[in-house]
């Protein structure tokens, strides 16, 4: 335990990013993720890095585009309304096949909403980060340790597949402190032959751009990108199973919701109810396989979310709508209590999968 320190989730992300070799951070303050920017402001100048508070979220994401073009690890962070502002830039990053790490410490919406925790940007992160056909790798930490681990992993995946990794956290994950160990064996960054690093008059110019005026060329770039996505869907899905061996009821939950659900599962198990949980760690690619497997035994899937029910759609798709589906949710900054989740489990157990 000696090597563990107490850190806020936001700080853990910032420190892990530095460990992963990120030396450029651009952002604009917004609750509940401002500690990331504050940490970077303090640390970056000391290690020869660049912290810059941009004039807006739009500016920050475009600075990310610029640095990424040069092949360096770069990140930005914000919370829900700020991520909406970044959405144009996210699309441009995808169109130019640029790696980046973007953190969304979600708060309640829509609009300015509130500042308390939420998971209601699930659709935005997994399906509609911006205009055009594209995906982002979406990583959903459920502890301060994972805030750090998935930041390192996020940079590695982003470079490997030349795309944006998004950390989809929430206000609780950002603000809470837990013991964290920051020992990483960071993989060496892959060579980036496409980066605009200066030709030295020895090679052709590299061009980083998302503009393709010829439809056939644009179609080709889209198809190539989706072949990559297909490979990622088959190889990069991450999840944790909890008490799933004999589960007749399967909870689906990520982030803070999975923490609450664990308490409820422990209580339900004491009452003899066969309930378990699949916790997606990657929201895209969604871990379809364990859910499909679970549907052989489980009659009911309970999606515990801090949204009006977004991930539940992916649970239905993954399980081919074979089971009964229940949403257990709170929104607007409220968090379901373990008692609410337990009640949903008990009701599902009583109904036994009947409509």
């Amino acid at each position: 335990m000696a090597d563990k320190v107490l850190m806020k989730g936001n700080e853990a992300i910032a420190e892990a990013a530095i460990i992963a070799g990120c030396r450029h951070y651009f952002g604009y303050p917004i609750t509940p993720q401002t500690e990331i920017a504050a940490y970077m402001a303090k640390r970056m100048p000391k290690i020869g890095g660049c912290f810059l508070q941009a004039e807006s979220e739009v500016a920050a994401i475009n600075m990310v585009y610029g640095v990424s073009s040069t092949g360096h690890r770069v990140m930005t962070s914000s919370s829900s309304p700020g991520i909406s502002l970044k959405s144009e830039g996210l699309s441009y990053l995808a169109g130019a096949d640029l790696p980046a790490l973007v953190v969304n410490v979600q708060r309640g919406g829509p609009g300015l909403g509130g500042i308390q925790p939420s998971q209601s940007d699930y659709y935005q992160a997994t399906k509609a980060g911006g205009h055009g056909d594209f995906r982002m790798l979406v990583l959903a930490p459920a502890s301060v340790q994972e805030m750090a681990d998935l930041t390192v992993k996020g940079f590695e995946l982003a470079d490997k597949y030349r795309m944006t990794s998004m950390i989809l956290a929430d206000g609780t994950m950002g603000q809470m402190m837990e013991p964290v160990s920051l020992q990483y064996d960071v993989k060496e960054m892959p060579e980036k032959k496409w980066a605009t690093t200066g030709t030295n008059m020895e090679r052709e110019h590299n061009i980083v751009n998302s503009l393709f005026l010829q439809p056939d060329e644009l179609e080709k770039s889209n198809i190539e990108r989706f072949e990559r996505y297909k490979y990622i869907e088959e190889n990069e899905a991450m999840y944790e199973e909890y008490m799933m061996d004999d589960a007749e009821i399967c909870i689906a939950a990520f982030g803070i919701a999975s923490r609450v659900a664990k308490n409820a599962i422990v209580e339900a198990r004491k009452k003899g109810i066969k309930v378990g949980m699949i916790r997606p760690i990657t929201l895209w690619p969604f871990p379809n396989k364990p859910f499909l497997k679970a549907s052989e035994k489980a009659h009911t899937f309970i999606s515990v979310e801090l949204s009006m029910g977004q991930m539940i759609d992916d649970v239905k798709l993954a399980t081919k709508c074979r089971g009964e589906y229940v949403l257990c949710n709170r929104v607007g900054g409220m968090i379901p209590s373990p008692e609410e989740v337990l009640l949903a489990i008990e009701t599902a157990n009583k109904n036994g999968g009947a409509k």
């Binding site: 107490l6 609750t31 206000g171 609780t172 402190m177 837990e178 803070i256 609450v260 308490n263 422990v266």
Partner: protein, 176 residues
């Protein structure tokens, strides 16, 4: 101790978050699983502040404390708000120099500590919080070796001169 859930509540500026942080660090140095979750937002700036701390022998599930085993109330609004949430058989520590009323519950143990008064008498007006924490440690037989280690972690090197006075505050609470 399997799991103990603490809720600290009071005015912003009373050191609510700091007290919780100290306990979390103490748990960490003793090898426990810990979580610390603050209230955040405008209420921190002069309004009510609170934080949830969980110390456990097993991994912490939800970090949100809605039914505390231990409530620390440092002002009346906090006692009014959280008194009923404390589990039956739980413990309430309150600053009796700021809260005039008695606790209504009869199924909990209550410690009335005139912490703010003691703090000002001892020329440490900002450390009423640590006086209460001292009392907590004493009551739970946890005033052990972890105290110094936790203090030196929670107080940054820049403020190292505050170590002794914090330790003194803890001691005053323990002796009260």
């Amino acid at each position: 101790m399997a799991t103990k859930q603490y809720l600290f509540a009071g005015f912003g500026g009373q050191g609510i978050l700091f007290s919780g942080k100290f306990l979390a660090y103490k748990g960490l140095t003793e090898g426990k699983q810990v979580s610390w979750l603050p209230s955040y937002g405008p209420e921190m700036r002069g309004g009510t502040a609170s934080c949830s701390v969980i110390l456990s022998d097993s991994p912490v599930g939800s970090p949100i404390v809605s039914k505390p085993d231990v409530l620390v109330a440092m002002n009346l609004p906090s006692l009014d708000k959280y008194e009923d949430a404390v589990v039956s058989g739980g413990v309430i520590f309150l600053d009796s120099s700021l809260i005039e009323r008695k606790v209504k519950r009869t199924d909990v143990t209550v410690h009335y500590i005139p912490a703010t008064k003691l703090a000002s008498e001892n020329n440490m007006p900002t450390l009423a919080n640590m006086i209460i924490v001292g009392k907590i440690l004493k009551e739970f037989n946890e005033f052990g070796e972890g105290v110094n280690a936790a203090l030196s972690k929670v107080i940054s090197a820049k403020h190292a001169d505050m170590l002794d006075v914090n330790l003194k505050a803890l001691q005053i609470g323990a002796d009260n």
